[in-house]
């Protein structure tokens, strides 16, 4: 019977219910999309780095796991030193440059031959390998997103490049240019951001890593097969804080809207609350009824939020095809629990106010 009352009450003011559902929906969607966007980008980046085919990556001391932001602080000659180590088959320097013009990309400046040696080479879908200093290799996703084809000109870092090839995605970056040209453009002559190392056999990875650590103390030396596990929001400085702040913001929006919705509900139903009290309804029953109504509102909001998340993801991917938004059941559940907890917290004060209403005042309320 109480469930019947809760459902009827919820639909008594459809616009107010709709606003509550929308607020919870936006809250859930924000949590899912923010987490999905960060974890999607990280996962996709990690996958591409793993996909290079090298065994080890060497970075400069104090470099971040998010390699696109690490600059180019290492002398390129380090590659020769690493190449001399036992079990090292090939070493390739790469200069990484972050580009935010016309999209967010990390551009790899590579040496064509050594990159082929460590990675096994690109899978060419169209065009040919780098031949000139202005040649640009682009992966299929980026080519689609930027609407580029072989032979097109593309401006990057205030430099006009010619699209030499479209390759299969998954080799570290989406855009590749000759390292020497990029070094000149960014003023980093003879410098590299990372060194990619290929061992004579994957079993020698640990040995080679140990030797590199001895040669280059304080330089992070990471096995690429573990990169996926390293690329988490907790390993990126400030990222987890950003995610937490965004979740807190989303929860605050939901909480305040639910608070306002339930507070106005309680005010509007003052007389009804008086009636329930005259019938002998306890404070617990009144609190329970209002919290049940909030929970039901929240369930509708969660369903709307999950649907909205998929809609927003589809919209994002339509506009920016290279983006990766990872929606996982785990985070859908977490977002639902966060929204439900926030909503119940937001409704608890109005419910408490309702339960403490004087029945006579409530019955004579106009």
């Amino acid at each position: 019977m109480m469930g019947h009352l809760v459902v009827r009450n919820l639909f008594h003011r459809p616009m107010r219910t709709l606003i509550g559902v929308a607020a919870i929906g936006v809250e859930v969607m924000l949590v899912i999309i923010i987490v999905g966007l960060t974890s999607g980008i990280l996962r996709e980046t990690a996958k591409r780095i793993e996909g290079i085919g090298a065994d080890i990556m060497v970075q400069a001391p104090a470099a971040q796991i998010l390699i696109g932001f690490s600059g180019s602080p290492m002398p390129i000659k380090i590659a020769d030193k690493i190449a001399e180590l036992r079990y090292v088959q090939a070493v390739s320097p790469a200069l990484l440059q972050f580009n935010s013009s016309g999209g967010v990309d990390v551009v790899y400046g590579i040496d064509r031959d050594t990159f082929r040696d460590v990675s096994g080479g690109f899978v060419f879908l169209a065009g040919h390998d780098m031949e000139g200093p202005d040649d640009l290799i682009i992966d299929d996703w980026a080519a689609k997103a930027k609407k580029l084809k072989v032979g097109d000109s593309f401006n990057l870092f205030n430099h006009d490049w010619k699209v030499a090839a479209i390759v299969e995605h998954g080799k570290g970056a989406r855009l590749f240019v000759p390292i020497a040209t990029l070094q000149d453009l960014v003023g980093a002559r003879d410098k590299a951001s990372i060194f990619l190392v290929k061992c004579t056999h994957p079993d020698h990875t640990e040995d080679v890593m140990a030797e590199i650590k001895e040669l280059l103390p304080n330089h992070p030396v990471r096995p690429l097969k573990d990169f996926m596990t390293l690329m988490t929001s907790t390993n990126i400085p400030g990222l987890q804080t950003f995610i937490n702040a965004m979740i807190a913001l989303a929860v605050t929006i939901g909480l305040l809207v639910i608070f306002l919705t339930m507070y106005t509900t309680v005010l509007e139903r003052t007389r009804d609350i008086g009636v329930l009290k005259s019938l002998g309804a306890s404070k617990v029953l009144i609190v329970r009824a209002l919290l049940a109504e909030t929970s039901l509102l929240c369930l509708f909001g969660i369903a709307a939020g999950v649907g909205l998340s998929y809609l927003v993801r589809a919209g994002f991917l339509f506009l920016w095809p290279t983006l990766s938004i990872l929606i996982t059941p785990e985070w859908v559940l977490r977002a639902a629990l966060i929204a439900l907890t926030g909503a119940l917290f937001g409704a608890s004060y109005p419910a408490w106010v309702a339960s403490r209403k004087d029945p006579v005042d409530a019955l004579t309320y106009d």
């Binding site: 019977m1 109480m2 019947h4 009352l5 009827r8 009450n9 008594h12 007389r271 009804d272 008086g274 009636v275 329930l276 009290k277 005259s278 019938l279 002998g280 309804a281 306890s282 404070k283 029953l285 004087d358 029945p359 006579v360 019955l363």
Partner: protein, 248 residues
């Protein structure tokens, strides 16, 4: 079904001494109710002594502001007495906390209000059934059928309050009040919002409840004609009972 108790009264409005039960079901002793308007204490009840016996139908009359509604709220456990004693079926309301008074209301008191006070989102059936739910025994279809038939509500059960006339709404309110077989039915000007025809219907319903089912009723009214349906009339003025002296 409750045991039918018929209380015969003599023509002057007092109870037949031979049939009068020993213990009143409702009794107040020196009952005071003070309200606070800022720092000023306003007495609504000033030492009310009042008794109602099982099966009695008592009308309380008096001018506006004389304390009739305050008396009803205090004896119904909705408001706390400031001083004095209220005994309902042997339970001292003044010694009870909020939760205990709530429990007592649930099991022993039924209310009917002037403005019907039906829950607008529920149908007539829902409004009656929710009282059964709150009472804790759940929905009793037999009792429900008996009460709704007696009040002539069978055809209106799936209508919301906004789809019913005032008289119908008040009959639903009466059904809700008696569905759990309360010891006392308290009615606060139940005909105050009704036209003459519907007033007569509602008063006749209350009279039948009293005569046929032995329901104890205390009704507040302004309407002198309404008192003809009741065993006894109590007059109030300035927060006290002035029995035997017409207050209006």
């Amino acid at each position: 079904m409750p045991i039918t108790v018929t209380i015969r009264t003599i023509t002057d409005g007092t109870l037949d001494p031979e049939r009068k039960p020993l213990e009143p079901i409702l009794k107040t002793e020196n009952l005071w109710k003070l309200y606070h308007a800022g720092k000023v204490e306003v007495p609504a009840l000033r030492g009310v002594n009042f008794e109602v016996f099982p099966g009695e139908a008592v009308a309380v009359m008096g001018p506006s502001g004389c304390g009739k509604s305050s008396l009803l709220y205090v004896i119904g456990g909705l408001a706390r007495a400031s001083r004095g004693q209220v005994l309902v079926d042997g339970n001292d309301l003044t010694a009870m906390g909020d939760a205990e008074r709530t429990k007592l209301r649930r099991s022993k008191i039924g209310f009917v209000f002037q403005r019907f006070n039906l829950l607008p989102t529920l149908t007539a059936k829902g409004n009656i059934a929710i009282a059964q739910y709150i009472h804790g025994d759940g929905y009793d279809p037999h009792r429900f059928a008996v009460v709704t038939k007696m009040l002539g509500l069978e055809g209106r059960l799936h209508h919301k309050p906004s789809e019913m006339s005032g008289g119908e709404q008040q009959r639903v309110a009466i059904a809700r009040a008696i569905i759990n077989e309360p010891k006392i039915l308290l009615a606060d000007e139940p005909t105050g919002n009704l036209d003459t025809k519907n007033s007569d219907i509602v008063l006749e319903m209350l009279r039948r409840l009293n005569k046929d089912l032995g329901q104890t009723i205390v009704m507040i009214t302004h309407n002198p004609e309404a008192t003809t349906y009741f065993d006894r009339v109590v007059h109030m003025r300035d927060g006290i009972i002035v029995d035997g002296v017409p207050a209006d």
